[in-house]
Symmetry: C2
Subunit: 211 residues, 2 copies
Amino acid sequence: MTFMTAARTTPADRPAMGLRERKKIKTRQAIRTATYALIEEQGYDATTIEQIADRAEVSPSTVFRYFPTKEDIVITDEWDPVMLAEVRARPEDESWADVLRHVMRTALDLSLAEEPEVTRLRTRLAVEVPAVRARMIESMSATGRLLREALAERSGLDPDSLELRVFAMSVMGGLMEVSHYWAETGHRDDIRELVDRALDVLEKGLPTQKP
Amino acid sequence: MTFMTAARTTPADRPAMGLRERKKIKTRQAIRTATYALIEEQGYDATTIEQIADRAEVSPSTVFRYFPTKEDIVITDEWDPVMLAEVRARPEDESWADVLRHVMRTALDLSLAEEPEVTRLRTRLAVEVPAVRARMIESMSATGRLLREALAERSGLDPDSLELRVFAMSVMGGLMEVSHYWAETGHRDDIRELVDRALDVLEKGLPTQKP
DNA sequence: CCATGAAATGAGAGTAGCTCTCAAAAGGTA
DNA sequence: TACCTTTTGAGAGCTACTCTCATTTCATGG
């Protein structure tokens, strides 16, 4: 779910870490922050890795050591394991749509509470910058694989079957479109509500369809 | 539907064109042919624009004049208008799933008949090369917009509504996964059959789902 | 508290995709 | 043949990204 904000480090693992790891996290965050700021100021394309490195006070080499591509600086997230756990925690007899509804809401609430502007920036960039959108979809299909696993456990179907694969990707495609819609309409709507409506469509098909 | 083979020029418009336009088409085709050949020989990444230009006997500048990116040389297609017309030609009362079934079959038959190897190469590259996959999904969402239009006409729903957008993209996501599945399993299956199964899932949901 | 090893960083060179500009060549027209 | 337009090639330039190697920074055991 790349359009959500990246999770911060939980306070729990702070004391256990040495100086080294703490510095790494700080650097990572510095690069991201610098990138977001520069993009807000000048736009995505006009922002170069060199500028990012300068503002984050690291070398360009270091930027690439932390993020494989420029797009990844923007879209990387660490939510997948969280969401997978969330799925597993839902009751056995709940429908997949309700499971997703619940999981998405939890994730969105967290994300919007932590860094609402970043969440919005991300979705906006996904609409405006093809490369970012591409990378985002890419990571979405990774999430799709996880969703497949989860659905396989619940439905008893083979996770590698065409049916489950198609199903999972169609759900992801639909959810992706929600993020797009949200950004394109200027983030006016409540995205949680949009997600609910999308899941209705995915569950029950188009409304008021001709017989 | 980027995983299908690009349509050749129909014989009809051959005589009407001057030398200039005929040359352009030949150049375009030369670049594509050179690209496919080089990729088969050395792989996608190892193939540079310079090599492509050399083999196609044009300059690198010209390659970029014909195709905006390297990926586009591989995935560009001209099927969308054809498919849209095909959709419009289907009877009013046919379900969207049947419409898609029909249209997809027509397109696939054409594509497989004309250049089966290219069709396979494309789907394989979409699995193996992230950049190609990204570009392919990109063009898929353009097709998604067309599908939306078509579905709007049939259902009477607003083509810009969240519901229709989500629906169209979920269908495209599902169909995309078919292409992936096909390539990942070594093109062993009959893709027309895979498409049918996928549309069943999209229409009726997962089979044998727990109540 | 210091020496030794490991990990992180920076500097710099190199590749390739892609853009832009401008002059030469080829096609169309009268 | 002469003139205009379109297409092409040559080349310079930018930037994302990779790789290598020397230097610095942290961790650790004596």
